[in-house]
Symmetry: C2
Subunit: 362 residues, 2 copies
DNA sequence: CTGTTAGCGCATTCAC
DNA sequence: GTGAATGCGCTAACAG
């Protein structure tokens, strides 16, 4: 264990005072170029690292961060993100952090616009953004950039923006994985139907929420099947998810028209709705795959009404995003890697009980 | 954000001095029963929590911890555990921690015994144990207990011991999951053979290393198949893994005798060996499942020679175990939950690129 | 522009 | 048994 050098050591080594080293480390105040060069050389060579503890202890100033994302209720995707953020705030409760939340309606662009417009005025030290509407988000980013307020993304990255970090999932890869899973797992023997076909349900009249996401997933999904030479086996259906009666009617109608369907994939998280319909109509023999480990999906998997979901670690995203903000604000460390891709989990009944919130464990 | 109370606050509230509060918090030195009661009451009511940063800063004393586990080479399971430990040591480099490593030969009980016997004499402040031989491990635990040295387990828990924490995987659940996966994914259409059978390969003449683990996995695996009413479809084979020529001969012999095999499950991590044999003999149509995301298996999955592995987060185990030790040693916080079950991951080609070491991300 | 210095909250040592 | 005093490495304010 090589003893860590202290700021005082660095100061001595480079013939300046601790204050100067501090100014260089934090890029604040003016430093003569020559002095800066000398100190930076020592810094480099010695591989100096902050002692985050003393740093946090000595920090007088507090930071205010604003979190903005779609509103949600308990057990939903965005709510899990919020849990991750909460854990991080809790883990770092020794740092003077104040966190404000600005939720918007993910189905209403104007709600998003109104909320986003109010954010720069709050003058936060940093913003955590869960984006849904790319254009509105881009406007927010520009406005933050003008005021020099750093921001991070969770869930999705907005092309052309310049966040301090982003924690997102490769939705195309998710779609490909979904394709592979549907291909591999569609009704196992002995119940398999002979002329195997695969259903792909799309919500008709989708709210704006994540239609973008679903498109990427679908592209990955169809990509997998076309590479497997099975494109022709995919049967698409528009399902009006939010109208229970119509929804059931169209699911049953579809299955009637396509009796060889062995499995169905959804590019969204409302697998529970379809699972209930299949279950009510005694069609459990059909494999059902969806996204996100929501409370509803969790229950369906436990009850054997759904085969698997693909999960993308929302809590970890929220947790890491806050951690990233803290690193940036307090320790002036930018991540070497800006864009972090989250792990993509396959969850079935057998491993569901062990899919806890990792962060709470640590 | 409720302002955190400080020790000074607590002292003032209970009419004593900071020193006394500290003595109570850390259970050291003598405190008058009456004083103790009064302070503890205030502590309770105010929900006081350490400021881990100042606590770490003020800590003069350093701690020495000993890590003991099977030796391994780069890319193997135990090596990944070591990486997690390294990350933790790195993340907490601001704390005065010294870490010594004692590796033993997992195939030689005497090696283990010799190493374990040397550990108590080193008088570490805590020990991290990766067990293989239950009896030897139990002896170590007893000896540590006598000296009041706390210990944590990774990978496996030893029944009857009393660790500060343990980070392990439910091997029976892993086996069940393996069963489910084999059932669901065995050769998808259109290459499926008609009378589907499943292969279960066991290493013949196993070294002692984790035979215990493999038994539990096999129990879970056969449990799944018997519940699915498919017990009769499992065909077992003893495969001499470590003898390349014999191994290939017995694999090919088995497949010749059982032409309806659609998929093979291994209860250990050497899927790469079997994958190469299948690949060399152009039998890629057969699904192959194994354990652990070793470097070898990783490559096989990427190359399409293996279908999936079940992975159990060795890095996270190592990381969490060290974190747990630190919490215990520095902050005197025992985990409420002693036994932590790790998440069980399913890794296929499509999500492999995103299975990084989570901890490095945070 | 640069050096000096007073705390931050806690652990520890030393008087009482 | 208990309280006061010191210092951990750093930040930030102030004095040059």
């Amino acid at each position: 264990m090589a003893k860590q050098l202290t700021i005082a050591d660095i100061a001595k080594l480079s013939g300046v005072s601790a204050g100067t080293v501090d100014r260089i480390l934090h890029n604040r105040g003016k430093v003569a170029p020559a002095t800066r060069a000398a100190v930076e050389k020592v810094l480099q060579e010695s591989g100096y690292r902050f002692n985050i503890h003393t740093s946090a202890v000595a920090l007088k100033k507090g930071y205010r961060i604003t979190v903005t994302m779609p509103s949600s209720v308990d057990g939903e995707y965005w709510n899990q993100m919020l849990n991750g953020i909460g854990h991080a705030l809790d883990e770092f409760s020794d740092i003077k952090l104040e966190c404000g939340f600005c939720f918007y309606n993910p189905f209403d662009m104007y709600s998003c616009r109104t909320v986003f417009e109010s954010i720069p005025a709050q003058e936060p030290d940093a913003v955590l953004i869960g984006p849904v509407f790319p254009d509105e988000t881009m406007k927010l980013c520009n406005s933050l950039k003008n005021r020099n307020i750093p921001y991070v993304f969770v869930d999705e990255d907005i092309p052309g923006s310049s966040p301090v970090a982003s924690y997102s999932t490769d939705q195309t890869a998710c779609g490909r994985l979904m394709g592979k899973l549907l291909h591999l797992t569609s009704t196992p023997p002995p119940f398999r139907k002979l002329n195997i076909e695969y259903g792909l349900f799309q919500p008709s009249a989708t709210g704006a929420e994540s239609s973008y996401k679903q498109e990427k997933r679908e592209a990955g999904f169809t990509g997998y099947f076309s590479e497997a030479g099975l494109s022709g086996k995919i049967k698409k259906a528009d399902i009006p998810l939010l109208n229970p009666h119509e929804c059931e009617k169209s699911v049953l109608g579809f299955l009637h028209d396509h009796p060889d369907i062995n499995g169905i994939a959804l590019m969204h998280s409302r697998g529970d709705i379809i699972a209930d319909i299949l279950n009510r109509n005694r069609m459990e023999g059909i494999t059902l795959l969806a996204f996100d480990l929501t409370a509803g999906n969790r229950k369906c998997i436990m009850d054997g009404k759904m085969t698997a979901v693909i999960s993308q670690h929302p809590e970890m995203q929220g947790f890491s995003a806050v951690k990233s903000i803290i690193r940036y604000l307090l320790y002036k460390q930018c991540d070497k890697k800006i864009s972090h891709r989250m792990p993509i989990d396959i969850v079935v009944a057998e491993n569901l009980p062990y899919c806890r919130n990792y962060l709470a464990e640590l």
